[in-house]
Symmetry: C2
């Protein structure tokens, strides 16, 4: 009995899916062998904790589903926070140590990727080998793969330098518009009241302490995005403008992938992921309409989740390596 | 013999001007009694160091110009970093301690202001009692005073929340445009080469470390503004666009003051200060043109410097208090 394993290592949660090649189960289906554990982004938790958590997760999966370590044929992971090829090599080394410690087979295949890459791989429709995935949650970025397997990306420069169209940027624009409205440099907006209520602030000046003394982090700023979305549903003009600008930035990501590859076309499947697309009709509608009207692709539902993409990559690894032998 | 003293306490330098009421000397003129010392912004150096440095500066001035402490009749200061009325009260208390320690007269008058306020007061033309000052250096803000003495401000929310049109924002936009150009999400720009050269970077990816690991501060980011100005002079479109956007934000500050007061008019003198106005013809020209075409005032040269404004405030203090008695 052979198994492939996919791992999706995020900032707050790590998911691990065990699948039998030839009879794959989607995450969410009753027959899926899936375990979850704490976040394993090495930029947040360090490589040592990443190793401990990945080992515990794998060991937990093996015992939960009564799988013998030696029956695992291939493992693919997508781990958040792997910024350089050096990080990827270091992570490969660490995971190979885990394999030794847990008595995995010596012929096991392993591949380590960014979390975005397994998300793209899991999202591409079953009958396609190319596609574009645009992600907008706390951060934002966009990835595309063409039939040849060549891979392109846009964005993902982090909250200060980039992440255009992300929850962070939407939240920050909301705060900036508050100060503009306060100064009468911009239109009045429902956001003022909503943010004061949400934060339990008596006066807008408290926003200064929140940003400079408390040094609000990117997640705290991104949390304001949901208030912007709420205000947009009440037709607040400032909120709608912020969200349309975000959507426009996300369209630019797709345009960028077209310019980078030259191989994408008007029928390329374009998938979306992340809380901003999921929760904002303004962002989703503007994005879809622009993708179609600018011939940048066909909006398609994602096939499955990132951890499923990792399993597909593990299976691919197995096939490719068998072919070679 | 009576003297009034003006103090301009900045982040990196503090200036102190001693003047005889009735025969004021401008800073820069040969007869001006002026001494300078280190920065006294209490947010950067703490209140204790602020006190030490102010005492040293005053004591230095008295001995340099052979003035008896008891001959000082009024002191006005503008100190950077005084964010709240509590900060101002605390600073007043500290300066009164210095007066005691240095044997100043007990009948001495004192007023403490923000650095922006003395800048406005020093800038207003001699024959006017109203005016608007727009400042764009590392940060940005705008202040106005009307004939009744009522005072208005716009901006100055700091580099994350506001400072629109500032060197920081110009620098940050430059970095964001670099990443956009790299991704082909934006037009190519001379800024890429200029910034790589300036920073001695081999590859643009080093910008990530600069921002996230090195955690570049607002001054380091604002330093890129001069490269944007350079590129604009070589007609780089991206640079020109960044600077025009900055200028537009600075015009909004003036518009805001008009909306706040209702008393400013098309002949209100509008003065500018700070390195961005001084160094960028694009910003200055666009700003001047918009101020005139939108009837927001008449661009006027500043009368003098902030420390001179502080001296004028000290003199005013003396007059007002004499009137009362």
């Amino acid at each position: 009995m052979s198994y492939v394993v996919g791992i999706d290592g995020g900032g707050t949660k790590t998911t691990c899916l065990f699948n039998k090649p030839g009879s794959f189960s989607y995450p969410g289906s009753d027959s899926a062998f899936i375990v979850t554990g704490e976040g394993t982004n090495p930029q947040s938790v360090g490589f040592k904790t990443m190793k401990e958590r990945l080992r515990r997760l794998l060991s937990n999966g093996l015992s939960t589903f009564n799988i013998t370590a030696g029956d695992i044929s291939a493992v693919s992971c997508g781990i958040a926070g792997l910024g350089s090829s050096q990080d990827i090599k270091h992570t490969e080394k660490i995971i190979k140590e885990i394999f030794l410690e847990l008595d995995f087979s010596e012929n096991l295949f392993l591949s380590v990727h960014s979390d975005s890459f397994i998300a793209l791989y899991g999202a591409i429709p079953e009958d396609k080998e190319e596609g574009i995935l645009v992600i907008s949650g706390t951060g934002s970025n966009s990835l595309g793969i063409i039939n040849s397997g060549e891979f392109f990306r846009s964005g993902g420069w982090g909250h200060f330098l980039g992440d255009e169209g992300s929850g962070y940027q939407i939240g920050m624009h909301a705060l900036q518009h508050l100060t503009k409205a306060f100064d009468k440099r911009g239109a009045p907006t429902l956001l003022t009241e909503k943010i004061l209520n949400f934060m339990n602030w008596d006066h807008l000046m408290e926003v200064r302490n929140f940003v400079y003394q408390h040094k609000a982090d990117k997640k705290e700023i991104a949390a304001f995005a949901k208030l912007v979305i709420e205000a947009s549903e009440e037709r607040d003009e400032v909120a709608v403008r912020i969200l349309k600008k975000a959507a426009e930035e996300l369209v630019l990501h797709v345009e960028s992938l077209h310019l980078q590859s030259g191989d994408f076309h008007k029928d390329t499947p374009v998938m979306t992921a992340g809380s901003i697309f999921e929760n904002s009709a303004v962002v989703m509608n503007y994005f879809q309409q622009q993708i179609h009207s600018r011939d940048l692709g066909v909006i398609s539902p994602a096939r499955s989740t990132p951890v499923y993409g990792a399993c597909l990559l593990a299976e691919q690894l197995l096939k490719d390596n068998r072919k070679v032998r």
